[in-house]
Structures are given as C-alpha cells and as structure tokens.
C-alpha cells in the first residue's frame, strides 16, 4: 500500500503510516500540515539522499542544508559590504554554529555506518549585494531549516539521532528569530512552526544549489 504511492520505494521508510485517531485530532489542532513522504527523485535529491538506511538518509538531508547555510554565512561575511556591527556579530555566530552542525552531522553519519554526502556547489545570486538582501535570504534559509528538521525528525528511528536533530533545530529556530528581529519582523510569526517534507525543502533550496 505504501510503495505504489512513492516514486522511490527506497524512501518508503520515511513515510509514517498508521496515524491514530488521536493523531489526526492533534494534526487538526495544531494545523501542522506535515506530510511525511517523498515525491519524484531529482538528481539533487538523489545526491542528498545518496545513502541507504533511514536515519542516515535524514542526516544526509540535514547535512546538505547545513552545508548550504554554512557556505551562505561564510560568503556573506566576505562579500556583503558595510555590514552593521550587530549583523556582523550575529552572522559570525551563526556561521560558526552551522559549521559545527556540519561537523556533527558528518560524525553522526559515520557513526551510523553511512557516508556523508559532499558539499553542494552554491549560488546565492544577488543575495550579497546589500545587507538587506542578505538578511532576507538568511530569514528564508533559517525558517526553511526549522521546517525541514521539524518535518524530518518524527521519522527518525534512533533516539540519539532524534536528540541530535532536536538540539540542532532549536538553534536554527533561535537563528531564525534573531535574523527576523534584525529585519524588524516578528521573531515567531506563528504559534506552530510548519513542518515541511523533504521534497518541498529540496525544491525550496534548489535555486541556490549549483551542479
């Protein structure tokens, strides 16, 4: 019943089946909108999900996002001219955090017997032309990162991996809030952060991935 709904049967484990009645009520109550599953497999997705094994797939998916974020802040700190002192300090902190996330995820993947995916080539277009453009894309990346972890985490099988993902997503949420404050936006626009399925996340970040 599950496999025919999936373009990639090897991703079947990502799907969570058997929602209970209570689960539906919860979903209604929080309007989480989480859909666990994967659609068509693009070359980018294949790369992000290169390895077999449930938790390793999810960790590699997270690693790809963290690579993207780490590269984004590293480049921004070099390329955006006239960053305010506050934004510079925040961006440096975030860059360091994302780099630590990359290292931790690589170690976790190896620990689980998997092979970490390689860092993707990146292209952030005109995002580094001004501080405003940089912060705008930073907000998108951080909010997407939160939703990506929130969407993938319930499918994690190992309690240790779940703890690691939870520990990282909380930091992504803090980043998102601080970037939003810099932009004069509400740090928490909704009472419930959205959960995005992997495919939706990969589609969202595809414009920034080159090669």
């Amino acid at each position: 019943m599950r496999d025919h709904e999936l373009a990639a049967p090897e991703l079947a484990h990502i799907r969570i089946d058997g929602f209970t009645r209570s689960a539906f009520l919860v979903r209604g109550a929080v309007a989480a909108g989480a859909v666990y599953g994967a659609g068509s497999v693009t070359p980018f997705v294949s790369r992000a999900l290169a390895q077999g094994g449930g938790d390793v797939d999810i960790l590699n998916f997270a690693l790809t996002l963290e690579y993207l974020e780490a590269a984004f802040y590293t480049m921004a700190l070099k390329e955006v001219s006239g960053l305010s002192a506050d934004v510079k300090e925040l961006s440096t902190e975030i860059r360091d955090n994302e780099t630590e996330h990359v290292d931790a995820l690589k170690a976790a993947i190896k620990g689980a017997g998997g092979k970490p995916v390689k860092a993707p080539g990146v292209d952030f277009g005109g995002a580094f032309k001004t501080e405003t453009a940089f912060l705008k894309l930073a907000e998108t990346l951080e909010d997407t990162g939160v939703s990506a972890y929130n969407g993938a985490a319930p499918a994690i099988e190992s309690t240790d991996v779940l703890a690691a993902a939870g520990s990282i997503v909380q930091i992504e949420a803090r980043h998102a809030a601080l970037i939003r404050l810099q932009r004069g936006q509400s740090p928490a626009p909704d009472a419930f952060d959205k959960a995005l399925e992997m495919q939706a996340v990969l589609d969202a970040v595809k414009p920034f991935v080159k090669g």
Binding site: I168, Q170, R174, A176, P187, A188, A191
Partner: protein
C-alpha cells in the same frame, strides 16, 4: 534521575513510565492536576487506538502488547500534560505582565502580546491533544508572579527569558520519550517556537546568543541546545506556582 539498569534497547514503554513515576507524582501534585484512574486511561487509550486487533482483544483480556500500547499513550498523556502546565504558566505570565502596565514601550508590548497569544494557542492545542488521547487535561495552575512584577521591567524580561529557555529545554528533553509520531510532530512544532521566543528575549536582556548571565542551564552553549529533564524544569518553575 533514577534510570533502571537496563540497556536502552531493552527498555520498554512500561520501563519509561516506571522510571518517571516519582517525577510524575511530584509534578501532578504540584500542578494541582489529576489524571484519570489507571483503568479508565487503559480503556480509553485502547479505544482511541487505530489498531483494531488490539482493540478487540483488550476489552476482556489485556495482552502484553495492548498494555504496552496503553502505557505508551499514557506516557504521552503525561508528557503533554507537563507541556500544558508550562504553557499555562507562560500564557498567564504574559497576561499579567500586559495587565500590570509595566511595559510602556509600544514594540515591547506588541512582542509580549504576540508571544502571549502563541502560548495561549499552545494551551488550547495541548488541551485538545490530551482530550483526544482520552486523558484529563492538567488544570490551570495558580501562579505566583507578584515578586517578579514588583521587581520592575528588568525582572519581568529576565523572567520571560528564563521561562522561554526552560520551555524550549523542556520540550527538547521530552522529544525522545514521545511514542506517538504525530504528537512528536506537534511537540516539535511548538519546541522551535519556544526557542524563537527565547532567542528574542535573550537578545532583549542582552544575554547574548549563549545566554551568558543568570539563565539557569537552559540556554545552548553555542551550536547545540541542551535538553532538561522534567525534574530539572519543575524545580526551576516551582517559585512561580502557588498551587
């Protein structure tokens, strides 16, 4: 705090419940909340399960599997009620802060209101969740924020940051114990919002990203957030709960 001496893969849902019994009792007493009797919970938990084979056999003869399922749902109810109590506390805090008129800055009032609204939505969702699991939602605790409010704006902001960081650490501490994936998804969607609140408030009190200063163990060291156990969190919110 008192983990049974079994390896993680030998632990069952029943072990989890047993190991948390002490903190559960303390928590429920403190929060002034009662849970339905064991049998009632068992029956309603089985009734709300989508596992029809379990449902059919348990009415007369509870099987080991059915008991484990019920225990899992029971554990989830307990966790959701714990979260509910924390959310009640937060929602009530922001309501009192806004009523007190201590906050004058328009932007700050706006922030306090929007965070308070988020917390109230969490209360509503968690209440509905406990009910949907066949449990009795924890009662709204009577809070004790007089000292905080009389301490002025700085104390209010520090307390707000404190409860938000504790809230985030509390959700993180429970994530691995939640059995129902949909409840986990719901908890995660709240966890990251608590983290957003915490970060905003830390920045307001100039606690910095790592929360340097008087925030008690709930703030990340840097790139990784720290979970807190039920006991640790309850110890720190105790001063704010009258009954």
């Amino acid at each position: 705090m008192t983990e049974p001496q079994t390896s993680p893969n030998e632990r069952s849902a029943l072990d989890d419940l047993a190991s948390d019994a002490a903190s559960r009792k303390r928590f429920l007493t403190m929060a002034g909340a009662g849970m339905a009797g064991g049998l009632a919970v068992l029956i309603s938990a089985c009734g709300s399960s989508d596992d029809s084979t379990t449902q059919d056999t348990t009415a007369q003869e509870p099987s080991a599997t059915a008991e484990a399922t019920a225990a899992a749902e029971n554990g989830d109810i307990e966790i959701v009620n714990y979260a509910l109590t924390l959310e009640y506390l937060e929602a009530d805090f922001y309501a009192q802060v806004i009523d007190s008129g201590l906050v004058k800055d328009k932007k700050l009032v706006e922030l306090a209101k929007s965070i308070g609204e988020n917390e109230q939505e969490h209360v509503d969702a968690l209440t509905a969740t406990v009910e949907s699991l066949g449990g009795t939602p924890a009662a709204k605790p009577t809070t004790k924020f007089e000292d905080v409010l009389s301490g002025g704006l700085d104390k209010v902001l520090l307390t707000a940051a404190t409860v938000e960081n504790l809230g985030a650490a509390a959700y993180l501490g429970q994530a691995g114990k939640i059995k129902d994936k949909a409840i986990l998804a719901a908890a995660l969607s709240i966890h990251s919002v608590e983290a957003r609140h915490a970060a905003a408030l830390n920045s307001l009190i100039k606690a910095g990203f790592k929360g340097e200063g008087p925030l008690n163990g709930s703030v990340p060291d840097g790139a990784f957030a720290k979970p807190m156990s039920m006991d640790e969190v309850l110890e720190q919110v105790k001063p704010f709960i009258a009954s």
